[in-house]
């Protein structure tokens, strides 16, 4: 089944498109190309939230520094295209600020554990991407938000990391550790001996300072958000909304396609609709009638006869390409066999990198061509 990108971009009831996929497959490129096409061909007021875009792509979108608010991209036609680059630390700071007084927020910002967590913790980037998305949606200044997702090994991280982070911050273990005295006779009473042994050991290794920092941090979070998890659950709802469409991007390689299949399965479980698969960087040949074997055989024949080395060179280039085309077709067929219901569009591999508006328009055309 072929994925109709123009129908998706032209559908006014779709307000959010999330581009997921494993690392390096073309999520950022796809997100930018979609938003540009939505603005130029469908007159939409679109914003693209990019995460760690390639430097030159960022420049051509006018993003010369991390700017945590969207800016309009020059030299586009049609509707409007705004673009931004996620600044995760600043987004976290904004979340804190929006929930508490200035003084209290300063206290949180100064906490060493907060500093570590807001910049390096695994899951923070995914969570902040989701927060930013919720903010953009709430601002209601765009009729389409296209979201890129952080580079991670697994496409599922975007869905799972925020919950993991929230579960951790709200978790039993953390509370046990922070309130060993008052928790003593409660639900955890069976575990008390083990617990104090546990806190003792952890404190020895991690140091008491770190524990105190975490303690203050978690209690200030509690008083600001009434628990981190509730906030995360709220944010997650944006993804479950009916106006949100997911696209999964994969290159025609076994690992990327396997990740895409996991992701598709997971969305079905969560009842979040997957609009389709973007198979990116697909190779094609203009001369399919010359198979790998036939080309190589002919190249060898020419070499033996010491005829036209240039032609044998061309045939070898062609044979390599066809071998790749064949391999990719096998990988893609595995996905479509397992998920015949998921619409697919293919984007041909470009000879050069994709880092200016013209190249993004080409990608948009290829996305729409199915």
């Amino acid at each position: 089944m072929s994925l109709d990108i123009d129908a998706l971009l032209g559908d006014g009831s779709v307000r959010i498109i999330v581009c997921c996929g494993s690392g390096g497959v073309g999520k950022t490129t796809t997100a930018a190309a979609l938003a540009l096409r939505a603005a130029e061909k469908h007159g939409r007021e679109a914003v693209v939230l990019t995460i760690d875009p390639a430097r030159r792509l960022a420049q051509s979108l006018g993003l010369t520094e991390l700017s945590n608010t969207p800016r309009t991209v020059d030299r586009t036609t049609g509707g409007r295209l705004d673009a931004m680059m996620l600044d995760m630390k600043r987004t976290f700071d904004e979340v804190v600020l929006s929930h508490t007084s200035k003084e209290k927020a300063q206290e949180i910002f100064a906490n060493p554990f907060y500093q570590a967590m807001s910049s390096t913790f695994s899951g923070t980037q995914e969570y902040m991407a989701m927060e930013k998305l919720a903010q953009l949606r709430a601002a209601d200044r765009w009729d389409l938000i296209v979201v890129d997702t952080p580079p991670s090994r697994s496409a599922l991280d975007f869905l799972d990391a925020p919950q993991r982070l929230a579960r951790f911050l709200d978790g039993k273990m953390l509370r046990l550790l922070l309130a060993p005295a008052k928790g003593g006779r409660s639900v955890f009473s069976v575990m008390t001996a083990a617990t104090s042994f546990f806190t003792g050991t952890i404190a020895k290794i991690l140091g008491a300072r770190l524990l105190t920092d975490i303690g203050t941090f978690v209690s200030s979070l509690d008083s600001t958000f009434g628990g981190f998890r509730r906030r995360a659950d709220q944010t997650y709802k944006v993804l479950q909304d009916r106006e949100t469409a997911f696209l999964v991007v994969a290159t025609p390689e076994p690992d990327a396609v396997r990740e895409a299949a996991y992701f598709a399965g997971r969305l079905t479980e969560e009842r979040m609709p997957l609009a389709g698969l973007v198979l990116n960087r697909v190779h094609t040949t203009a001369v399919p009638e010359l198979s790998v074997q036939r080309s190589l055989g002919a190249a060898e024949g020419l070499e033996e006869a010491e005829l036209s080395p240039v032609t044998s060179g061309v045939l070898r280039i062609h044979a390599d390409l066809v071998a790749q085309v064949d391999r990719e077709a096998r990988v893609a067929a595995r996905f479509t066999a397992a998920h015949p219901e998921i619409p697919v569009t293919r984007v041909e591999a470009q000879a050069g990198d994709v880092h200016d508006l013209a190249a993004l328009r080409d990608i948009g055309d290829l996305l729409a061509a199915g």
Binding site: R153, A298, I317
Partner: protein, 324 residues
Amino acid sequence: MTPAASFPSRRLHIVTGKGGTGKTTVAAALALALASGGRRTLLVEVEGRQGIAQLFDVPPLPYEERLIARGPDGGQVYALAVDAEEALLDYLAMFYKLGRAGRALKKLGAIDFATTIAPGLRDILLTGKVKEATTRMVNGRRAYDAVVLDAPPTGRVTRFLNVTAEAAKLAKVGPIKTHSEGVAAILRAKATTAVHVVTLLEDMPVQETADAITELTAHGMPVGSIILNGVRTDPLEGAKVTQAELKRGLAAAGLPADKAVVTGLLDEVRAHKTRLELEAGLRSELSGEPYPLVELPLLAEGIDLSGLYQLARILMTADEGSQG
């Protein structure tokens, strides 16, 4: 001129690079190369992905050193998947004499918790195990002639290796501090250690390589070689192709030579040339770095064991001259 790579002169090889550029492949090939001539090497992974087992097509590796392959001419390659939880238990057993009680901690989820709360702790434990294997002596001899680490990607590798900074955030005294100082010393020792950066000749990996090198050197980590992986050869060797000549050649080879075939093939050649030009530009950017460039070819049939040996042979000869 760029210097030669001289891999055998170091004992600890840390292989990083942007995700998907071939870190695991290159680390494995290097472990094979260094095991030649009857030597013994250890290939270590730390990310819990069982990438080594997949590559060598064996069942998942336990937290235990296992013989996984033979070097090209004798020699042995061992492999180990380091697990942070197990490493923490090792550590607790060593410094706090926690035997079975440590296991109870694991059951409680405490270890997972501790390493989540302090990601630095995890890194100290993982690199600690690498140091231990690198310096281990058995019967007055080194247990391994070389240790090769399939390290985290460029984005995370400096933090991963910068154990002193991480330890400073943890306990200020006690065994973890002493322990991390020992680890930091070996990771920074130029005579022992080399951090190699793997890259493809593509924009983003090359950019990340340059960034990683800057960051690594700023933190005093000894950069070894830049390894260009998946390098394409040019069957045309730069020769120009004309329509007339191609047409003649195809006819001579008994292949169809109609217009569609000829223009189709010429389009493919043009795309191939564009790619090669981009690659040449990126290669010359990298040759500005004062580190050896080692090139590994793109293996059309993908990577299997024989492919690994092929790459290992190239790494073995990389010392004989610079390829930059």
